[in-house]
């Protein structure tokens, strides 16, 4: 069933020009150079330290690495991280 819905959503996105983050409940990530990263649609913090932030997503985990991390703002679905970002990974589990 879930598979089918995903298929439908994918089709909707591709053929009806709907934004993917809305249709498929995916995170929207905005980065400003290396210094800011803004993630919408996350599902909570998994781990947080100076060099790393792990965010729960609907599917999998988002792993952000870098240094001097500070969470500027955190709201139930949004997070703004400041620091020097070196890499953004998606981990599927």
């Amino acid at each position: 069933m879930g598979k089918l819905r995903q298929q439908v959503n994918k089709w909707l996105m591709q053929n009806l020009d709907l934004p993917a983050d809305v249709v498929m409940d995916l995170p929207r990530i905005t980065m400003i150079g290396q210094i800011h990263i803004y993630i919408e649609n996350h599902r909570g913090v998994k781990a947080f330290s100076n060099e790393q932030l792990a965010l729960k997503l609907k599917q999998g985990t988002l792993l952000i690495k870098g240094s001097d991390f500070v969470i500027k703002t955190i709201l139930p679905e949004e997070i703004l991280l400041e620091g020097t970002i070196t890499s953004v990974y998606f981990e599927n589990d």
Partner: protein, 397 residues
């Protein structure tokens, strides 16, 4: 970030959370709707974060559940700023009291100047002013205004023609014009006595001089009464004639009395209202009831307030509301005549000298028209009609 202002307004604190599982703490904060921001991880499992003062109690509960320690590092925002200011309230009190004192001192009477009065009048004037409340150290805005003071002082002072009251900042200046009663110059040279008015001679008492008229003579204004020439022919001598000649003088007085008059009187009931006026906006301070008067008059007394020499936009306003009463007075014709006679007599007494005697009165004319009674009264008054007229000395004789 976007509501930094609201954070500052409500006050926020920066805390250090000691213990593990900082991410779990962040998640539970999110779940219970507590806003935290500027989360900064430190070494040894410590996290620095900011949160609103309002949420502090909730955060503490949460931390107790999770067995974490909290330490407050910084306090920011208005509530803490106010507390800080309050701690240094000496400054604040000083500033406010400075303004208050400056305000009071610049609205106080510091000096009272009297010009144009001799010491006796000055003393009397100062005494009268004290009765009105004008003394050094009184607050100006509690006193009646300058015009009112002038009126009351002029009423109180007897030997003064006019008092000018002006206020220059904190100084009241009274300018006095004293009544100058001219001294009668004794006439030493030879003189006659002449009549001041048309009159019938009633009696006379001549000390010096030669009377040229007799009792019951009729004299015109300026006619000779007592001559300064005495002695027989060719042996005449000049003296200054002296004496009193009483003549019967006729006075005509016309008065008209309306049969019915309506006029307003104060009933004596009044209400005072006090306002603080700012840019023409009157803010009631004391006295809020209008007083349930059917008919009333209002007297408004405004005093601008000064700070040092500058006029502030504030002024003190006193409104006096007095109840008035419409009274209707009506006379019958008989009463009107009686009143008219009284009025005419009063009028007459103003005209005649103090030592004159009223010998008789007559109603000359009396008519009633347009609701008015008009009386023409004739009075016979006996008064001294003699006045001194010097005799010019002919040169070269």
């Amino acid at each position: 970030m976007k509501n930094k202002w609201s954070h500052n307004l409500k006050g926020n604190i920066r805390v250090e959370i000691i213990g593990q599982e900082s991410s779990a703490f962040i998640n539970s904060c999110l779940a219970s709707g507590i806003q935290i921001w500027d989360i900064q991880p430190l070494e040894n499992e410590r996290v620095l974060a900011s949160l609103s003062v309002v949420d502090f109690q909730n955060v503490r509960k949460l931390l107790k559940e999770k067995k974490l320690k909290i330490r407050i590092k910084e306090k920011n925002g208005t509530p803490f700023l106010l507390r800080k200011i309050w701690k240094r309230n000496g400054f604040l009190i000083g500033m406010i009291s400075f303004i208050v004192i400056l305000f009071l001192l610049s609205n106080m009477i510091w000096n009272i100047n009297v010009t144009g009065a001799n010491p006796k009048t000055e003393y009397q004037l100062k005494k009268a002013a004290v009765e009105l409340g004008i003394t050094k150290g009184k607050l100006i805005f509690l006193l009646p205004n300058v015009r009112e003071i002038q009126r009351q002082l002029t009423e109180k002072m007897e030997n003064v023609t006019w008092i000018g009251v002006t206020r220059h900042g904190t100084t009241y200046r009274f300018e006095v014009v004293q009544k100058e009663i001219p001294k009668e110059k004794p006439i030493t040279g030879p003189s006659h006595l002449v009549a001041t008015k048309k009159a019938l001679i009633h009696s006379m008492f001549v000390e010096k001089g030669q009377p040229v008229i007799a009792v019951n003579d009729y004299v015109q204004k300026g006619s000779l009464l007592v001559s300064g020439f005495i002695g027989k022919e060719k042996k005449t001598k000049l003296v200054s004639a002296k004496g009193k000649v009483y003549g019967e003088v006729w006075y005509e007085t016309k008065v008209s009395v309306p049969l019915s008059t309506s006029f307003q009187t104060y009933t004596g009931k009044y209400k005072n209202r006090h306002y603080l006026s700012l840019f023409g906006l009157d803010i009631p301070v004391y006295g809020f009831s209008e007083g349930e008067f059917k008919t009333k008059t209002e007297i408004i007394n405004e005093t601008p307030l000064y700070l040092a020499k500058w006029k502030t936009p504030f002024s003190y306003l006193k409104k006096e509301i007095r109840e008035t009463d419409g009274v209707k007075r009506s006379y019958t014709k008989k009463e009107a005549i009686a009143v008219g006679k009284k009025m005419a007599k009063k009028e007459l007494l103003k005209k005649i000298p103090a030592d004159a005697k009223i010998n008789g009165e007559k109603v000359l004319l009396q008519n009633e028209s347009n609701g008015k009674v008009t009386l023409t009264m004739l009075y016979q008054v006996i008064e001294n009609i003699a006045s001194v007229q010097p005799i010019p000395i002919q040169q070269g004789e």
